[in-house]
């Protein structure tokens, strides 16, 4: 394969991955790293570097829109960014120490877990505002957003702030260690522990993962893991794909999305676990 053809294949795959990631709610990086590693034979570290760059690109686009619309809660995002970014810096530093096969194994388990947790039914956005945690009151971690589907403003507040902070630290470590945005884990932490409405959690997660990925990406870049011929086409492709994916998503049924999701995530999870154990499917 000629270099130009290789780049075109990489770009096309990234468009598909970005679209699939957006449709499945996993983000591009979670799917991208195993796809680049398994199908393109790209070194895991380069795949992670490219993934992080693509996460910042998609996050910038989505977070800009959600902040503009007032759906992201900037206070929550900044508050949770502190433990996440500390975890991400720790995780990204560990990448150079942990052997690639162990990373592949952890990755396989992590995306399998991400697959399971994102299969959960999201809570209804219109659920009653939970009783606020004292820390949430102190830091102003409450707000309201206008829900177009419900046709009225939905007030909300945060609970389980301490557990949320702990979960975000772990999420940060995973993000830095695996070179992914870890959006699924971020949303889960805000949804399950802090009881934030799903829409707010998703929108705020987009803002948050960009900051976290930027912190990890700096370390990857300094280590020489961000290859311009891989990260460039991948970032552009994933961004375009994510845009297309959100359009396609609106036309798909939940059942179709879930079937597709199960198929892709568990295949990739199994492949990465087996690679970590020294068995290659392809």
């Amino acid at each position: 394969m000629s270099p130009v053809l290789f780049l075109l294949a990489l770009f096309a795959t990234s468009v598909g991955t970005g679209a699939l990631g957006a449709m499945l709610g996993l983000g591009g990086g979670t799917l991208l790293v195993p796809i680049l590693t398994i199908f393109f034979g790209i070194n895991l570290h380069y795949a992670m570097g490219a993934s992080l760059v693509s996460v910042i690109a998609t996050s910038s686009g989505a977070a800009a829109a959600f902040l503009w619309l007032g759906l992201s809660n900037m206070r929550v995002g900044l508050f949770l960014a502190v433990p996440t970014i500390v975890g991400a810096l720790l995780g990204a530093t560990l990448v150079g120490v942990v052997p690639p096969r162990v990373l592949e194994l952890i990755f396989g388990v992590a995306i399998g877990w991400a697959g399971l947790i994102t299969l959960r039914q999201p809570r209804l956005a219109g659920a009653a505002a939970a009783e606020a945690h004292p820390l949430a009151v102190s830091f102003g971690l409450q707000g309201a957003y206008f829900d177009q589907a419900l046709g009225h403003e939905v007030p909300y507040s945060s609970r389980g702030v301490k557990r949320g902070v702990g979960a975000m630290f772990v999420t940060g470590v995973l993000s830095g260690l695996l070179g992914i945005g870890a959006g699924a884990f971020t949303v889960l932490s805000m949804d399950s522990f802090m009881k934030l409405p799903m829409k707010v959690a998703t929108a705020t997660s987009n803002f948050l993962i960009g900051i976290t990925a930027a912190a990890s990406a700096g370390i990857f870049f300094g280590r020489g893991d961000v290859h311009p011929l891989i990260a460039g086409p991948v970032a552009i492709g994933v961004l375009i794909g994510a845009y297309l994916g959100t359009r396609v998503l609106a036309r798909m049924t939940n059942t179709t999305v879930r079937r597709l999701f199960l198929l892709v995530v568990f295949y990739l999870s199994l492949s990465m676990i087996l690679r970590g154990l020294g068995v290659r499917l392809l």
């Binding site: 502190v82 930027a214 912190a215 961000v226 311009p228 011929l229 990260a231």
Partner: protein, 147 residues
């Protein structure tokens, strides 16, 4: 707070657009007929930052490249290397791609700095402090690229 949100939104949007355009420009320049991508590694072609010493072969690229489709190409690891590449003419297209990547990496940082300034101006001390902690953490990361 709304001012901070709108400012961050604009910075993220335009930072993202500018960096993607730079990446696309660099890739097109690299792949275009007569582009440097076609003769990288050829006698007389410029040396890549990590291809200077045969013994240290290509740093990350030489050690890690895992696919024959990935051509030998420079992998920049610091702002200094990218700046030096910009000083040469013609500019190495992959330095343009890397500039786009660096701009993208810097975009969230610039966003947090802008938000910090807004918080200071409106007297929101607690969140100004949180933003300051984030800036410090991002600076640790940026220290890796600014060598």
């Amino acid at each position: 707070m709304r001012t901070a949100e709108i400012l961050a939104s604009r910075i993220l949007f335009w930072g993202g657009v500018a960096s993607i355009l730079l990446m696309a420009l660099g890739i097109i320049g690299w792949g275009a007929p007569g582009g440097i991508g076609g003769n990288w590694g050829a006698p007389g072609a410029p040396q890549a930052p990590h291809e200077r010493t045969a013994g240290q072969a290509v740093g990350p690229l030489g050690r890690r490249v895992g696919h024959p489709g990935i051509p030998a190409a420079p992998v920049y690891t610091s702002v200094g290397e990218v700046v030096r590449a910009w000083r040469q003419w013609p500019v190495e297209p992959l330095a343009v791609v890397t500039t786009g990547i660096l701009l993208l990496l810097a975009t969230p940082f610039v966003g947090v700095v802008a938000v910090f300034v807004v918080f200071v101006v409106i007297g929101e001390r607690r969140y100004a402090g949180i933003a300051a902690v984030l800036i410090a953490a991002l600076l640790v990361s940026l220290a890796f690229v600014s060598r």
